[in-house]
Symmetry: C3
Subunit: 210 residues, 3 copies
């Protein structure tokens, strides 16, 4: 009846990669990009964060050993290119935002975990690499397409990810026996704040901005 944890992670990874690629298609459509640029941006958004993490860790980039991420990003980008008006429908975009939320929550936890397991700059290195894993691809996408990067937006996007990574990294380093429950709480927290941002339009509070 229920999927195992590893099956669940695989499903979220696939859906998350699709959501990342779709976000790139929407960004590319603002600039009337061609099909190759859409695919390039789809790949960059989907794997750019994890690639940056792996380069900083000094380990082989993950997709060189697991090409499915690239294939999914390419297929999603091409689908998105052909069906861009479908992607722009309000309900489709909303679903995509929620899938993206689940994905950034999970990818940030995975990135934190990978850095921690390699003993990379504990306790803060895993936080930094967790955040990079989740939002790095989106930042590179925005730089390549020359629109204001998500770092400059008032949307609650990188902030919930960072909170989740801080919580999870602290647990891994100081009370590792609680890491599973901490991962669940961190993901739930990211999802809840993203829900507030998407559904209730909650933004970064004024006192937290310059």
């Amino acid at each position: 009846m229920f999927a195992t944890t590893s099956e669940l992670i695989s499903i979220i990874s696939i859906l998350g990669t699709v959501a990342f690629a779709f976000s790139a298609v929407l960004a590319a459509s603002e600039k009337h990009s061609d099909i190759l640029t859409v695919v390039v941006l789809g790949i960059v958004t989907a794997v750019g964060g994890g690639t940056t993490r792996d380069v900083l860790l000094g380990v082989p980039v993950f997709w060189s050993e697991e090409l499915s991420y690239i294939w999914i990003a390419i297929a999603s980008s091409i689908f998105g290119f052909v069906c861009v008006s479908f992607l722009k429908k309000h309900w489709v975009n909303t679903i995509n935002l929620y899938v993206d939320a689940v994905a950034i929550a999970m990818f940030s936890i995975q990135g934190t975990q990978k850095a921690w397991s390699l003993g990379f700059g504990l306790p803060i290195g895993p936080i930094i690499l967790g955040v990079i894993t989740a939002v790095g691809g989106g930042v590179i996408r925005d730089v390549l397409i020359q629109r204001p990067t998500l770092l400059l937006s008032k949307e609650l996007y990188a902030i919930p990810v960072t909170i989740g990574c801080i919580l999870y990294s602290a647990t891994l380093v100081y009370v590792p026996q609680l890491s599973d429950i901490s991962a669940v709480i961190a993901i739930a927290l990211v999802l809840y704040i993203r829900y507030l941002a998407i559904r209730k339009k909650v933004q970064v509070p004024k006192w937290a901005s310059l």
Copy 2:
């Protein structure tokens, strides 16, 4: 009478590095850059793509073991800085575009070949790294100088490179005994599409853009 293949490759590498640096000088002249920025952009354009490829492959960056690329990029940038009005002459610019076309064709094949020989994410890894080798330096140049990157242009530039890399990578992986002839065809194809773009002003077709 005829140069050997390896001599031919050396000559094209040198001329291509010069052409890449000259393209950086022209980009820098739009922003009235100083001499150091011209040289920095010349180096970045000339070796940025191959450097990104080598970082992703996890191998030493190529120019740390073969500094001639850097020296040529510096010398060309300084020459271009002094003689910028010469570079802007229509016939000089046209020659530069054709030399650039030969260079991106050859560098993309070399990048594909290097990734393939290291078994990096076959069959799609070599395509991605081949494209990055050829156009990555130009993209970084555009980001640093804050003009729309070549990915956002309607010019047929990255598209022919990608087609060539797909053809060559597919041959290497599936029918390696044909790789030499495939390399020649891939380069000829890139050159032909670049010729159409430069001479006939053929652009990315409307149906292939959002």
Copy 3:
């Protein structure tokens, strides 16, 4: 009475990291960034150059083994966020510019030295990596915040750093017994040119610009 050289280097490293983070706060304040973005930009500015250097060298990124740089960058960014009007005072900003000048001088020498000790592309590799160490973080900051990068400014910033790195690298490679005195001269030279730029508003001369 006098600090040892290694104590002096530690003090300058700390103050320089603070100055880099403060420059990021000032840049972020132009865009009304939120606290997380301020911290991200503070970290990127403080360690981005050295991180790029280490990735190109193929060695572990320095801050994964010496987290104090990250902690100082975070603390300085948060302090700067809270006290941004203090940072914008003319005399505070002037002090920050001078501390920044000392820091880029020293970091460029350290970066040159690290590349040279690894035999990276002598004699020009150390120059390139020295410059990247000192100004790379600022360039990434400017790209992420989408303002014209310091490479496009008329300010004498990257140029004195480059002159210092050329002098120091040449000494290391050709007359290593003079490397200590050369480091001092290189740092003094960078400081003097930065002093002319900050105090006397000396800019890149016209003949050195396109």
